[in-house]
Amino acid sequence: MVPQPGLPHRYSLALPSLTLIVAKMGSKSEFETGLQALFTRVFGQGHSLATFKRLSGGASQETWALAGSGKSTILRRAPGGGSEARSSAAIGLPAEAKLIQAAAKAGVPVPDVFHVLDDKDGIGDGFLMSHVLGETIARPILRNHEFETARSILSGHCGLALSAIHSIPTQALPPELQVSDGLSQIEKYETIYRAFNAPRPVFELTLQWLKANAPAPRLNVLVHGDFRLGNLMVDETGLVAVLDWELAHLGDPREDIAWLCVNSWRFGQSQNRVGGFGQLDDLLTAYNQHTGSAITAGEIDWWEMLGSLKWGIMCMIMYEAFRSGADASVERAAIGRRVSETEIDLINLLEIAHA
């Protein structure tokens, strides 16, 4: 839940000019008073808030660690206490809370969401969850000795967690969830890409190739939407929690598996297709065994290419925030020079497909 150097923790999926979020709860003391009242209301009389610390920065959802009187909890809250979803694809925090609770029931490792903020709390949209201990930052997970055992079993854990997510009955899920399959995602990202009027022949070739080679869709399931290191809490025993459900939607199960395989999310460890730590066969074996499906590694290729293209266009969106003047930061300018990373990944994938 901590921003990662060089890679923004969270990105807006809509054009930045459309997603200006106005802080509705500007006063810090008002927020502090609200937090203290909330802490006592939730944990009971005699429990008072001693410390609160912001864990994530930037435009992402705010994450706060609250502690006092021997209790600790994590608050996930809309930026500045706002109440609208940050992008057209995000589902909003009350729906996210319901999803995490549904995932817990299905056996997915998630934090325990035990309080959803309401008007009475007076600090905007958000929820309280248990403080799960572990590491979310990719670099130590992929390199540190203490995670060596975890790395060797993490692909299986991810396969198991995804099989549980994809098996959650969709009828009972929040109505905010959008249906978004492969072809509709291509259409959406192509529209955004064309609006920039900055032709990139590699993206053009990828768009045409993906459309010409689209696989038959699989049945819609609950898709996490951002299942990768950074959003997975890991300790030395393996996967302990799946976080950040705000991009969840109904769609193709292969999207989640392939997103974890996108080279950008291997954080330099390209030889390990799954997240930079493992092999796809291990993930698929666990996944297929528990879902009864028969997804093959070859089926993941198309979705991995779509994932790289999506991430490349997301980088263009973030650079657009600089170009348009909405965000003058050096970080937003610099991300425009990461688009070419996804172009080289796409070239590598197109070469394999046409070898």
Binding site: G57, P201, V202, E204, G268, V330, R337, S340, I347, N348
Partner: protein, 124 residues
Amino acid sequence: MHDQPSVAELVQAVKNFIDETAGPNLTGHATFHARVASNVLSTVLRDLEQRPQSEPAERARLLDLLGDEADQSTAALNETLSARIKAGEMTPETPGLLSHLKATTIAQVEIDQPRYSGLKTAKS
């Protein structure tokens, strides 16, 4: 016109200032932004050094690939290329297309992110 210090030397001087003086005196998120700023200046230095060779090479390949379009700018050539791909006139099977795009993208990533893992894969 004078070239002492050169543009590259001036950029290097600012990078030195960020790395050795400004950066260490910053705290919190500003430290991260200083690192990003320093990396950006490295990109600028690579761009100054490499673009004069890689852009004409790209242009020569584009002219080769597209036929008689010699009066067009490189940006216009890339627009033409994109339009032909979009129209389905050029596909991954088109002789020379993938190898041109690969050479161009390798040159771009050499400037933008020379340590990116996908670059190593492409060159192997």
